[in-house]
């Protein structure tokens, strides 16, 4: 269709809207933002009669590639180290996708501008596409990859696992609370515009380097829809900026959304890319280098900073601190180590790092070995069944103190010196950072800086996973989670990739170990005990090392 024809057609479909006079659409979802002065703009001129055939063509390419992968025996060349992490990633991502579909009515409801409703409704259909095409990719992996365990229980595991929960907030954040906070700032302005670059572009590139060209096929197809979504979000934030009353809320929401997306997405995708790959070419980009390119340059400097001219207050300090956490504080390495520490509670297998990995990490992150090398050597040694417990329960030998969990982002407080402790809503809670503390204690409240914010959401739920199982025998935890293979005794998770049944860990390896919740224990302490405990905790690290006894004295 010619551009002139598209413009004419787009103008024509604007005739479909009308001003209701009998009853207005019900206001289902509240917002504290106002759009009375909003300008009207639909930048993309989307029309369904060109949209459906375009997407059909994209689908045909995806399904053609899937057929080709099977016929060409792609799985003879995929790296198990990589595929195992897809059990986690692909269990999480269909939920944020479908949540994005569900989020569209929140924005449609909040923004009284029929012209942008059209683009948002098309985004809804896109998101149904993304969710189901990703579930189908995972189904293909389950059918054709050597080890289907962990794919076969995918959505149950996603919903009862500590790591699945970290990812789940990424989707729930789109659909709940203040409509604009959730469905515009968190979803579109930050998650889609910034972090889909590392999710759907950087990570698939790493998949290809590990022999898997289906992940790039599917996710690049997904990403090609995201540019339209980014435009939807951009037009709405410009509308919000046209009203002075929204600026304070936008500043709050950008701080929350930026920091939470960083905490969650960088934790997960950073781990997949750095610790899930076998591609150790020294000239391939590290996650930090990718982040600098995709997030810092392409998003922060090219998209976010220019919005300053419209009066938006950009969280420069938090962007710099996110980079500081990734580059100087070892955020991704700490998270990967934590996932591996807790391998027995996973539904995927984690390959030990070897000398080639060590060399690459040292090259990309000078000083890495001194911080993390010994621990990974211990992990490798303890990955073999030899009468010892999983490394999580061998704290002394591993020289690792199990971490407190951040109440807000639910990633543990791994940068120990940054840990914040506060009593909030009658409970002593730990936070990984000042910003996560602020999110819970200040931002998600009915009043913000003296201004009523009656539409703002709440942090809810049993946010510390360990407290669900405090005092349980660890074998019963695994049984309750359902992370056993079909012989009823071999664990789905393994700390290595060896599929020889004699080398695989079984449920009896974790019998007789008592699970404990750091938060329950913290709340049971006296104030003095707690203060001493936290002071020592904050002196610990890096790599989870407990503070030396003399330092604690």
């Amino acid at each position: 269709m010619s551009r002139a024809s598209i413009t004419k057609s787009h103008e024509k479909i604007q005739e479909l809207a009308w001003e209701p006079t009998f009853v207005s659409p019900v206001e289902k979802f509240a917002t504290d933002y106002t759009f009375e002065k909003a300008q009207k703009k639909d930048p993309l001129k989307q029309i369904l009669r060109s949209y459906f055939p375009m997407e059909e063509e994209k689908d045909n390419r995806v399904f053609g590639a899937m057929d080709g992968a099977i016929r060409g025996n792609m799985f003879r060349q995929v790296q198990q180290r990589w595929m195992e992490w897809q059990k986690l990633f692909l269990s999480i991502i269909p939920f944020p996708e479908i949540s994005a579909a569900r989020a569209m009515p929140l924005v449609i409801n909040a923004v009284p501008n029929p012209e942008v409703h059209n683009g948002l409704a098309i985004q809804m259909i896109d998101e149904v596409r993304h969710s189901t095409i990703q579930m189908n990719l995972k189904r293909l992996y389950m059918n054709h990859y050597i080890d289907p365990a962990g794919f076969d229980n995918t959505l149950k595991a996603f919903q009862n696992n500590y790591a699945g929960t970290i990812g789940r907030q990424f989707g729930e954040g789109f659909i709940t609370g203040d409509a604009i906070t959730a469905a515009n700032v968190y979803l579109t302005i930050v998650a889609e515009t910034a972090f889909t670059n590392v999710l759907f572009v950087a990570m698939p590139a790493e998949a290809a380097a590990n022999g898997d060209y289906l992940l790039p096929t599917v996710f690049h197809s997904v990403q090609s829809d995201e540019s339209r979504h980014i435009s939807n979000g951009y037009s709405i934030i410009l509308m919000a900026l046209s009203d002075e009353r929204n600026r304070q809320l936008l500043e709050r929401d950008l701080r929350y959304a930026w920091w939470n997306n960083h905490a969650v997405v960088d934790a997960a995708i950073g781990t997949f890319i750095e610790y899930g790959t076998k591609d150790r070419r020294k000239d391939r980009d590290s996650y930090a280098e990718m982040w600098r390119r995709w997030i810092y340059d392409d998003y922060y400097r090219s998209y976010l900073v220019p919005l300053e001219k419209y009066g938006l207050v950009i969280p420069h300090d938090l962007v710099e601190e996110a980079w500081n956490r990734i580059w100087n504080k070892g955020y991704v390495h700490e998270v990967a180590q934590f996932f591996a520490t807790g391998w027995a509670a996973n539904y995927w297998r984690i390959d030990p790092m070897d000398d080639a990995d060590f060399e690459w990490f040292e090259h990309k992150y000078p000083g890495w070995y001194n911080k993390y090398g010994k621990w990974w050597e211990a992990y490798s040694a303890m990955s073999k069944r030899n009468g010892h417990k999983p490394i999580m329960f061998e704290g002394e030998a591993a020289n690792y103190e199990y971490p407190h969990r951040c109440w807000t982002c639910m990633v543990p407080c791994l940068i120990r010196e940054d840990t914040v402790v506060d009593e909030v809503d009658g409970q002593v809670r730990t936070y990984c950072s000042e910003t996560c503390h602020w999110t819970d204690a200040v931002a998600f409240r009915p009043e913000y800086e003296g201004r009523p914010t009656p539409s703002m959401g709440r942090l809810t739920g049993k946010r510390e996973w360990e407290s669900l199982y405090h005092g349980w025998d660890y074998a019963d935890v695994i049984r309750d989670l359902g992370y056993l293979r079909d012989d009823g005794k071999t664990l789905i998770p393994q700390p290595h990739l060896n599929l020889d049944p004699k080398e695989m860990w079984t449920i009896d390896s974790v019998e007789g170990i008592t699970m404990q919740s750091p938060n329950v224990l913290l709340n049971a302490m006296s104030p003095a005990e707690r203060e001493a405990h936290i002071a020592k905790y904050k002196r610990g690290g890096p790599a989870g090392r407990p503070a030396p006894a003399e330092a604690a004295a």
Binding site: K12, K28, Q77, Y145, I146, A149, L155, R168, L459, L499
Partner: protein, 365 residues
């Protein structure tokens, strides 16, 4: 003469890993189906595999509860967003088994069918030979119908797909929304094509007709009332079970589809027909859902009582809307069905639907 130094390309090395299914035998090496839900039949369908449990439920596998709440602390997909209750919301599966591939295949086929028909008609100059009184109906009334489809697609179905307790229900609603929105655009862009072909065809006449022609005001009121309903199941019921047969099918199938060809128009039945077919698919989903709820072993009687109240509220509105359109039947010289016969057919569809739910509507329709 200048020389260039070629930098060696850095590419990942292919590695033979033999990580394909069946390469080794070990526990779970043959566990190749999703095992966290019970399929409706012996083997799960592709639709079930890509749809079931994507939306978590604290009553199934979700162990830590919803992590975000609205201002009142309630999060996720509260069952209280409808007054209907179910002993198992997850029992509903979309009879159309819609997922991304079916959505695009079906809708792209519709687009092709409509566009090819319009293109043929343009090439043949057939718009110019259509009956003038019919063109007036097309200009005003058939085009006004686009607003109905748009209103339902954008502000009823799109809005409701946030609300239901399962992914299966919400996806069915999202697909229904896509159908309605596309159908609305099909109609209005068809209006544009005709207005470019036929002199004196007023392509914008539908707006005033929809907004202020007395014939259409009961219909517009009914549609606006549907958009103003908070209870998602009530909105879905009042749209798919009440409005669609008594107003939608009445106008589309029992008027437009009957008379257009008689007046030299073979394009409009194609445009309307594919919309009617989509409405039929969406109705199959509604029929399945409300049948399950009306026959729920625990809440069936209470649900039927709620639905009966909904009928009392919504049927008079839709009957008034349908009857309001009656004068359009008289605007054409060639009559195929009388309005009363059209209404009788629409009522038959409606009462047949009700009988599936064990419901009756006692008042005169």
């Amino acid at each position: 003469m200048s020389t260039t130094t070629e930098q060696a390309r850095s590419v990942p090395k292919p590695v033979f890993t033999d990580a394909e299914a069946g390469a080794l035998e070990f526990p779970s090496s043959t566990s190749r189906h999703y095992n966290y839900f019970t399929p409706a039949k012996r083997r799960a369908t592709l639709y079930e595999d890509v749809t079931v449990d994507v939306q978590p439920d604290p009553e199934r596998h979700l162990s830590q509860g919803w992590l975000y709440g609205f201002a009142d602390g309630v999060g996720g997909y509260p069952h209280e967003w409808t007054t209907l209750k179910s002993s198992n919301w997850h029992e509903f599966l979309d009879p159309n088994e819609e997922w991304e591939q079916t959505i695009y295949r079906n809708n792209a086929n519709v687009v092709r069918q409509v566009q090819q028909t319009v293109a043929n008609a343009k090439a043949a100059g057939s718009f110019l030979t259509e009956n003038r009184s019919w063109l007036s109906v097309l200009e005003k009334h058939v085009s006004a119908w686009a607003h109905v489809e748009h209103g339902i697609g954008m502000y009823v179905y799109t809005a409701c797909q946030r609300d239901a307790p399962t992914n299966m229900i919400n996806n069915a609603l999202a697909v229904a929304a896509a159908h309605k929105l596309r159908f609305a655009q099909d109609l209005i862009l068809y209006n544009l094509e005709v207005s470019e072909q036929v002199p004196d065809f007023d392509g914008s006449a539908h707006r005033a007709v929809w907004q202020s022609d007395p014939l259409w005001q009961p219909t517009r009121e009914n549609v606006e009332q549907l958009t103003g309903t908070r209870d998602w199941a009530e909105a879905f019921f009042a749209t798919a079970i009440v409005f669609e047969p008594l107003v939608g099918e009445l106008f589309r199938s029992h008027f437009v589809m009957q008379v257009a060809a008689r007046h030299g128009d073979y394009v409009t039945p194609t445009v309307i027909g594919v919309g009617e077919a989509d409405a039929g698919r969406d109705r199959a989903g509604a029929r399945r859902l409300f049948s399950l709820l009306a026959n729920d072993p625990e809440y069936g009687a209470a649900n039927r009582a709620v639905m009966t109240n909904w009928l009392a509220a919504w049927v008079p509105r839709s009957v008034a809307a349908g009857r309001g359109l009656q004068p359009i039947w008289s605007q054409l010289s060639e009559k195929v069905l009388t309005f009363d016969e059209s209404m009788r057919r629409a009522k038959t569809t409606f009462t047949d639907l009700l009988s599936e739910f064990g419901l009756t509507y006692d008042k005169e329709l």
